[in-house]
Symmetry: D2
């Protein structure tokens, strides 16, 4: 028990026997599947950095709950400092892996449950908070990775859960037993579900009377019977399988759809069951935490993109072009905007009744709105600054071909003094960062749709005080 | 001879024996390679529509040169009407194939050569224009597709061609013989080079004294000895090879790097050789024509994206969401902006001394600047409106799996009354339009880099008249 | 009769006796009020250019109606060439006056009525078209300027006209007599109403049953009894009154609110009365024409802004700064976008049943959407490139002051060789173009609100064909 | 001594006898000039709020220097908490006055000098820091307002100060005496110079050898002989003079040009003199602090704009329009972005050797880049949401006119239940916030030009670490 090394993490995953499919085939050895492994390596980096002297202080802290050092990815924030550390850890990791490290969602669930289970108990005298705390201790003691099962598949989006023709389009309780519950449904976009020990489920939207079966939160091991991981396709997915032209030579990302085919959840793992009016709070807290997480890791990813642009400008002989430098500045500016708003959201965080700290949601959502709009622009700027080979670079297999390889190496050369292989590698990394769908689309849809972020900043802003300020300056007399 | 049917076009390609490589292997049967075939099909659509009653009038016109009906893709514009037709034909085709049809670049070369060979002859009493006219007749009579060999690999971009450490980084004449010339170099991003009968080469930049060897234009068959097509990787390239999850079930795009490994060009196919001061005009005309081409086809592609968004909104049950409709309007607006500026550039075209018509370059570049910036935004809007499954939709092979297939079909369902298969197909098409690199990156780099477009509108605008207008209104007295 | 010179135009206005107020005072001599005169001069430019050899061919054409040469501002377009000329005339004039010339709205009304009166007659066998044609002859023969009375004050915008607590919030017929009608209401933003001979009124929105009294169109002289022009304040309005620091030394703009205080309209000037279902067409046609007009004049105004920026960069010693040149290119790009989309809308125009030509509304609105968003950005770029003195330049009176004048002239100096007075004049012009509210706010609200333009392009686009294209490429089988 | 009330502040200003001109006339009674008074009132608000129970804790703190409570506007930040307070105080004040309160620049100078005088002394064993500390005590004890004399008039911007044809285009020392120095030059855009007790001068740019005379910093009373304040024109400046249609009924802004006509500065007020290599640090620190100040006050001003938009939507009957609400969200988002980045810049601040705290410059500049680009967009959105009357609302004098007043009040009415006068007042406030040049142009040029902010974030970012991160992921081997 205690902090896991990277190797221990990998070994612990290897012990699990999840039900997984990919491209129409059952995957029995998740760990050695090169596509999944590249994703697992990204999560493994959260363990690796925790054991590196340079980053240990950033990532490891003392848990007040178990009184032991823990990885911050198992720690619901207990102070403003903890909130701030979330952002800095995520920026470092985004920078380190150049894609999604996939461990933030579990923490965002833990942080949410640490707040909301307390609030439910307060109203209903339930014992969710105790149950959750026991689970949290177990997670901390074993340095586990969790995965957030939040986004339901949703069926007809104009209808409430209970009004769907097929009642299972939002995950729901189909049986209540004395020892637990049975749930059915499916969660989409389960980034890293096979890199996780635990799947933590929250509702995906606010619910109303009639939706009681859908108001459910719980945690189960990722290899629980009935839980089926179907890894979706993404745009460069065969590269890792082929072991060629991967771009990011270390890390990648994958996103399964997770089917809960009548899965049993023991009672001590049930953290909400039927309290519809808390579903909105649950998903709201989670989303806010998760949007804050994005602000960190995506600014770290932009750091890599900036580095790639500047490096290719060096390699191409264009590093003195003023217009390209302007574009790099536009990229940096976007990174710092995400980061700045998220940091501010953290520093302005407040203590909740449960003792867990919660961020300023307006500022966290301000960051996410930028991400949703500006990451694609940042990618465009990167592609612009690097040049057209992002589109159609010949394969490393072509470069290794005895006849055309030497010709390609001759013609792919950039400035003198830079190995043609390095230039090609950097183009390939840019292709990965620009065109890999699993990660780039999370810029838009991760943490809820862009519209959700917008609605949130309006709802959470103090609108009346703004109106009052305007009326005062206009000289409009009113009692308010 | 005369207009080819789609079948005749395919058969004519089958007769060619180009030297082609892909993923480290020699491709001897281009036509039956599913990845290349999907690209060839896109070009084939330019033949197919020409024989459909509905589109014939749009695409087929009488050639004043050979006095026969020809496909507009072999016709340098001889009137404003011809210029306008270019845009409308391209919009229709962009809409029809949902990607690049790959036949515009050849026409852009023909149109350029029709102007510049005349201009060179006028100065030097050379006979390029005659040679070119003979070639053009051959192209028209046989309804051939040409490919533009323009973009050199460029080596160190801060150095002129002749100043490169390796003199071959821009294609150049390495031997001048009485019967022709021998050329060496490589051209990047040769979209559709294997779908073409002829490769037409122009210089890629303005040249100065000292660069004479690089001032060369010519045309050779795509299977000329020494010409090597190395098909580059793009982001979804294995999908067509696997025959699964292709997205666009009919068409695709591929981009080889084309190596000219000491290729002989017979003299009657040489259209410029050494006249450095015309290189700038050559690439300038080509770029302007090509930017106009983009304005047509890319607005047609946006039409498909708009259609996909609206269809998925129907399928998802979100068609009444006001914020999504706003985003679709933003997409339409971008399509019409590209189209409007390009149409205007065409209507405002003027006759050149050779009799060929040339567009208004400021307006054509105004369109391209929008493309370079706004296509990626349009894609982002499409992804936003369609939902997150663009990132990670399970494979059709998973859907066909006896165990998990039925479960996936249950959970992938959208609104009642729409087949789950249709919803999945539409998501897959969106993935293709959003994440396929060969086509999306041409939005940015096709027709020259974004900066080139900007420099052009400044250089071609009447700056002095604008200053004069301001001085007059400010009351500044001056003689001008 | 016939074409008026500038002097004849001014004299003709001097003969009119409109009821006008400004800043709480009755204005009896409109012509000699320096604020109003600066606006009148802008309209006078439309007469002046018509008599200048350089521009006569652009502005004067033969009227098929009266078989005499007329100013294009009295000519409903009878051909594509006429539609295109509208854009080019407006760009020239926008460039010439650097603000709004105020004569387009009358033409937009004439063009609208030329179409819709015909359509109403066709349905109802009314005689509006004849009446209108007689009026049009009169306008053409006397080279009159008309003003568009379109925008009602609207009261509570969530309510239909007839549902307003005060029924007069949209102009309406309050009495029907055998010889004419009596109307009551008020029209806002009546740019140039005192520079016009005639006020032409159209409804401001689509109407339904119950709104019959509001479905009224007519024309009356601007000095008709009961018609009250109340000139609104705009941001630099006292500058012309003071005769100092005016910026644009020749032209300006003013916008009255026009009150129709039970005004009698003789029957031969009534062009619609009660045909509610045509109100939408009326305002729709007008808006489309007017949005096209904006695309011309505003691109001409941007030309002045570009000229001012480049001139001040010369004067400030910053003309070599790459980042400033980039911003100027951004300005030019916006001008050409407005212009390109409007030109295209014109070239793609079609003949209506009445014989008048109508533009492509999607493209015209595409232009206006850019104006509504991008003019303010263009102004920002101008201010950025010119420097901070736009904010707070000392007055010409300070510069003329015996003590501080010489000091100011010393310190306001830019580069050697440019008179300090010229630099100051150019800053003052920039202030006028950036900060004058009457003109800059028309960038946003002129021709209807930004949302109206967006709704229009969606409604007028062929949405079904776009969906069909997507379904075909996705491989979705359907009968359509 | 000690904290001044608003009344004491006003009285203290009344005692001063500055040399002031406006519109060509000498202003002897600054306090009772309504235009200047409106600006002075904005600064007075910084005193007023300090004495209001609700805001005292925000604005008043204990000075470690004089061990008394002081207004934060006299306190160089001595902790992260102080840095954060700067942003929050500024947001509150921006919200409270709806324009520039004009007191931040003095504090930004004090904060800068607190750092740089120490650094100079350390290198040269000068005694600037002591002198400055004495001055600071005096400022704190008397609760004085300072004004930043930073922006030189600059002459030919392509030339260094000493290379200008007229050596006085940057303020310089023209005489060095034993008791002090004599300076000559002019500073532009001296917001609030007549609302201040002290003028604090810093160099405006980095300097090199040869520019020693220009490397000067000092403080002198605003009514020092030879110091001439020439109040510049701004767009609505006559409104306050006329006492009508002012919009913001309480506050305004004015910006003089400040001429130093051979002004004597006693030695104890000289804080730098000749140390050219510190000029860059001086202006860099000041700019960073000032950009942080903007992030606070401008987000507060946006709060007023949001309030005005929402109020007018209520008054116009458009509060349910989804597209308008989206625009308001865009406005809020911009406020929170400025605020978030500035807060983060503050929380991430670090202690300098002198003990004063300094912000994170990358984040502060990230905020300012947004301001420079997005404030004008926010204004555009406000105008869009409020409606066209911002352009041309009739004057209050028209509304008071016996004949047309009642008519205007009838027609200017919005929804039932809202007084027409209130609707008019709110439109007038919007006009003020949108079209007043002194304040809106500071959004662009305040704190240095937009390009300066961009160059800063590039220079201050850790570029090498970003390149390294990319190389590592691309698999490029290097020693770093």
């Amino acid at each position: 028990m205690g902090l896991k090394t990277k190797e221990e993490y990998l070994e612990s995953l290897r012990q699990m026997k999840p039900t997984a499919y990919m491209f129409g085939e059952r995957i029995t050895n998740v760990m050695d599947n090169p596509r999944l492994r590249a994703g697992i390596e990204a999560t493994a980096a959260t363990y690796e950095l925790a054991s590196m002297a340079e980053y240990r202080d950033l990532i490891v802290t003392q848990s007040p709950l178990i009184n032991e050092p823990v990885n911050r990815f198992t720690l619901p924030p207990a102070s403003v400092e903890d909130l701030v550390a979330r952002v800095k850890v995520n920026r470092k990791l985004g920078n380190w892996v150049g894609t999604c490290h996939q461990r933030c969602t579990g923490l965002d669930c833990l942080s949410t449950l640490a707040i909301v289970t307390y609030d439910i108990d307060k109203k209903y005298e339930t014992s969710y908070h105790n149950r959750f705390t026991e689970f949290l201790k177990y997670v901390q003691k074993n340095d586990l990775t969790g995965n957030a099962g939040v986004t339901d598949v949703k069926g007809d989006r104009s209808l409430a859960p209970h009004a769907q023709p097929d009642k299972d389009m939002y995950l729901r309780v189909v049986e209540r037993r004395s020892d637990g519950i049975v749930v059915r449904g499916a969660k989409a976009h389960q980034t890293g579900s096979l890199s996780s020990h635990e799947t933590i489920v929250l509702p995906t939207r606010a619910l109303r009377k009639g939706d009681e079966d859908y108001a459910v939160a719980f945690a189960i091991p990722a290899d629980t019977p009935g839980l089926i991981h179907v890894v979706g396709r993404s745009s460069l997915d065969t590269r890792e399988l082929d072991g060629c032209d991967v771009g990011n030579v270390r890390y990648s990302k994958y996103c399964p759809t997770l089917i809960f085919n009548d899965v049993f959840v023991p009672m001590d793992r049930v953290f909400m069951c039927g309290e519809v009016e808390f579903a909105g709070e649950m998903v709201g807290r989670f989303s806010a935490f998760h949007r804050q997480s994005h602000g960190g890791c995506k600014s770290g990813k932009i750091d890599c993109m900036v580095g790639a642009s500047l490096t290719l400008m060096d390699y191409n002989g264009t590093s003195k072009a003023g217009h390209l430098k302007q574009k790099v500045i536009d990229m940096i500016h976007r990174a710092e905007t995400l980061y700045g708003c998220c940091l501010a959201a953290s520093y302005e965080g407040k203590k909740e009744p449960s003792g867990t700290y919660f961020i300023d949601t307006v500022l966290a959502n301000a960051s996410k709105i930028h991400e949703g709009k500006e990451l694609s622009e940042t990618i465009r700027l990167m592609v612009d600054t690097c040049g057209g080979f992002v589109a159609d670079l010949p394969s490393d297999r072509d470069l290794a071909h005895p006849e055309i390889g030497p010709l390609l190496k001759k013609y792919m050369k950039g400035v003198d003094g830079v190995a043609v292989e390095d230039r090609i590698k950097m183009f390939r990394l840019v292709e990965k960062m620009a065109m890999e769908s699993a990660d780039t689309i999370s810029d838009i849809h991760g943490g809820g749709s862009p519209e959700a972020h917008r609605v949130t900043i309006f709802r959470e802003s103090d609108i009346e005080s703004k109106k009052r300020a305007a009326r005062r300056l206009a000289g409009i007399v009113d009692g308010k």
